[in-house]
Amino acid sequence: MLRYMLRRTLIMVPVTLFVSMIVFIIIQLPPGDFVSGYAAKMATSGEIMDEQAMALLRESYGLDKPWYVQYFTWIIGILTEGDFGYSLSYNRPVSDIIGQYMGITIIVSLVSMVFTYVVAIPIGILSAVKQYSFFDYLATGFGFLGMATPNFLLAIILMFISFQWWGDPMLGLFSAEFTDAPWTAAKWMDLFKHMIIPVIVIGTSNTCELIRVMRGQMLDEMTKPHILTARAKGLPEWRILLKYSARAAINPIVSTIGWSLTTIFTGSTITAIVLNLPTQGPVMHKALLSQDMYLAGSWLLLMAVFTLLGTLISDILLAWLDPRIRMTRKGT
């Protein structure tokens, strides 16, 4: 087991480097570079940048050098000093920017994740137990609706309702009076109020998927012989459900929990833009659009690392949860 983990960890290193290089190339693939985009943006607000000014900017950002020079300067900076480079559009170190948005991003993601599991798992179990009942159809119906509705559309609908009824579209995560205030109880309350829409929106798409997965797994598990045995022995129904069926059924959910790691740190993007949430998503979206490659590159690199780490964690968790997997692993 330990050897397996070690080997997996070692493989991660070249994979990460490879991903980082591909990411760096792809960001620069579109025509133009950061400076031409910036100059165009300034031109729309009346500032005219001539060739000379643009050349000066390119030189100061090092954009006049070939991509591999830029890439190696960047990657060596990360490896030797932990310096993720410099954001061209913010004119600040990348780590500063990622740090600024990290707290809120994690809070929003974690709360929506908890929301997802707390809602999805019980509903999944229930609709399996009461298969083909009214409740099952209701849950299934909502499940499919939720999966089919794009998050941002749901966000727009909820914003519209909020605007129509209360005259406030509930943008952002704080009311104006709390944004700069210290963290008091009132501010937390305000934050939670503003989090209702984002959490529902971000949470539902996953919720619906999880309901389906949970329901299917439960249906499989509930007919297994050991369940029959347990029932024959007279164990209470709820104990059979929770201790035997649910534990086995939760397997696929656990195996994907590691992948949520990426989501936790990056947050959602389009929904966050629609709802004007101060999280990582919109910042990175902008970075990608404007070819702010060190910021975008660092973010994509982090995503890759988190995905790899997540997979590793999932594997370990699974091995711990499911004796069958543990057994096969020991065998190899």
């Binding site: 579109p30 133009g32 000014a53 000066l56 950002y61 410099y86 913010y90 009461k130």
Partner: protein, 658 residues
Amino acid sequence: MAKKWVLCFMVVLMAASLLAACTSNNSGSNGNKGNNGANAEQSPSPAATVKAEIAPEAPMLAELVKAGTLKPVEERMPVKEDIMIEPVFEEIGQYGGEWNFPWNGPDDKWGISMATEEAMFRFKEDGTSVEPNVAKGYDVNADATEYKIYLRQGMKWSDGVPFTADDVIFYWEHMLIPETFGKALYDCYYSVNPVTGEKTRAEIVKVDDYTVKVTFKDPSVLFLERLAIDNKWFFAPAHYYKTILPEFIGEEAALAKAKEYGFEDLKNFGIWTGYYYWLYPQRPTLRAWVAKNDMNSDRFIMERNPYYFKTDSEGQQLPYMDRIVLTKMQDKSHKLLETMAGHVEVGSFDFTDYTVLKENEAKGNYRVIPWSTPNWSSTGVQLNQTTEDPKLRALFQDIRFREALSLAADRKEISEIITNGLGEASQASIQKGLPNYQEGWSNQWTAYDTDGAAKLLDEIGLKWDAAHKYRTFADGSDLTLTIYREDPSDNEKFIELIRKYYEGVGLKTDVKIVDQGSFFDLKYANKIPVTVKTVSVLNVAFRPDELVPLRVITPWFGHYGLYTSSQGKEGVKPEGDVAKILEDWDKLKAAKTKEEVQKWTDDIIKLHQKNQWVIGYTAPTPGLVVARNDVRNVPSLIASDETRYIGHAHPAQFFIKK
């Protein structure tokens, strides 16, 4: 038991949804309470201003004076005779309140800059000439070679340090000439020899603490107007820049400073602190509001400048509003939403938002104030006169082809579909009331006459293809007009409409969608044949870029501009009437009197009228300023970059009426 489960679950679900509804409901009323609270806090100030004698300063500053942390208002402002009295548009105002100003973050820096700019000389209300602003006044000699600019005695920077002629000279000597902020020395500082065309840099010297003298070798009659456009802030706080510029503290210490500000190199540090200076709380300014925190915060705050040099006619120091709060919005629709919810005191919008803003006017408790624009049209087409394909270039340069395109479209229909009928059927031309207006121009080639267009195309020699569907060149080769759409700024609907008309007269069209950055690059590379841009010119003498090919900028003249900016090394040599425009421009620059300037600008405009390089279909639509109903002194003026959009309304005198 299972039933119980279901029941429990239903209860939980219902409770959850109820809770959600309740809490959001609360938030709505909380928001209101918050507002009321703020109002209640500020209510003492109007009472004080109305009943007792007029308070000379804002309550928030009076408190600081009382606490002894701030000097009394008389000591903070210029000497009495030199205080600038800002006329109000409607009524004398009351202190207090915040101006919520949604922005997209530092990329939107110009919007907030314009709202808070203090120029040495600013444009008068009608936009035709300038008046002193930071300067107290000026004298100019008869042949316009010597300008004396007088400053205000006792005027101070926002940190209380005196503002004197030294700050102007410092800016000139240590920032403008060495180009510390990434801009080449502005054109307004050069005069042109009428005979040789040689450019000479001005001499700028200090006369006394409150006077500077600008001397030109040759007459420069438009110096003040061009200064008001090129380099409105003709001054910089010497005491601040002496602590950050490498010239004074050395490269190493400057780099350490740059790192402190978050920069990695000196160039960008110089550009941002020297050019986009209003975003930095460390940098003293002369503006009514000064930065208070990091511009990258979710809420960037600008607070009143206690040393601001203007009062209203009752002697109350401006500005009326305490703070500007810039909340970061990811998308421009958020600004619209917040405005419709009545959360934005004053905001500016494009005409595209007209319908939705009007629909919600009563509900959102605001008013939509239309501002006129110096645009030539609201919908139109520009053909690149120097486009790469030689056959296409010859066609575009043929005046008959431009006339045919103009006749081919039903302007009434465009007006109804694209502008809700607000932009009337019209040719691209100068609007009545603006300089160089030409009678009758707006009706040139405006009939909807497809037969006439067909006749013109026949005359040019364009043939039909075998199917008689599309026109071809005389030699039978394929003729396609490729329209480039810049996303998201160009109007998609209009492009579809205009393609219909062009195809109607047998001209094959194609559309390519590119983002802003690519559009910019393609324009520089002369790869864009057809665009749907218009031009916006307040006065061609002040800002010639869009009408005179001086550099690559406006699509219609393409690489003629590059020819001028590279002094003939690259680009396409201008010929015919385009060359004449450039000659006129050279004569204009060397003009000795304003009458001469007028003559040459008229000439340039008449050449445009004759050639109609910029084709328009509908008259310009207004720009929109939205003011909440309790915000007063928001006028309707001309919206242009030259006059600084909302800044032209002098936001220091906006106030929230209680």
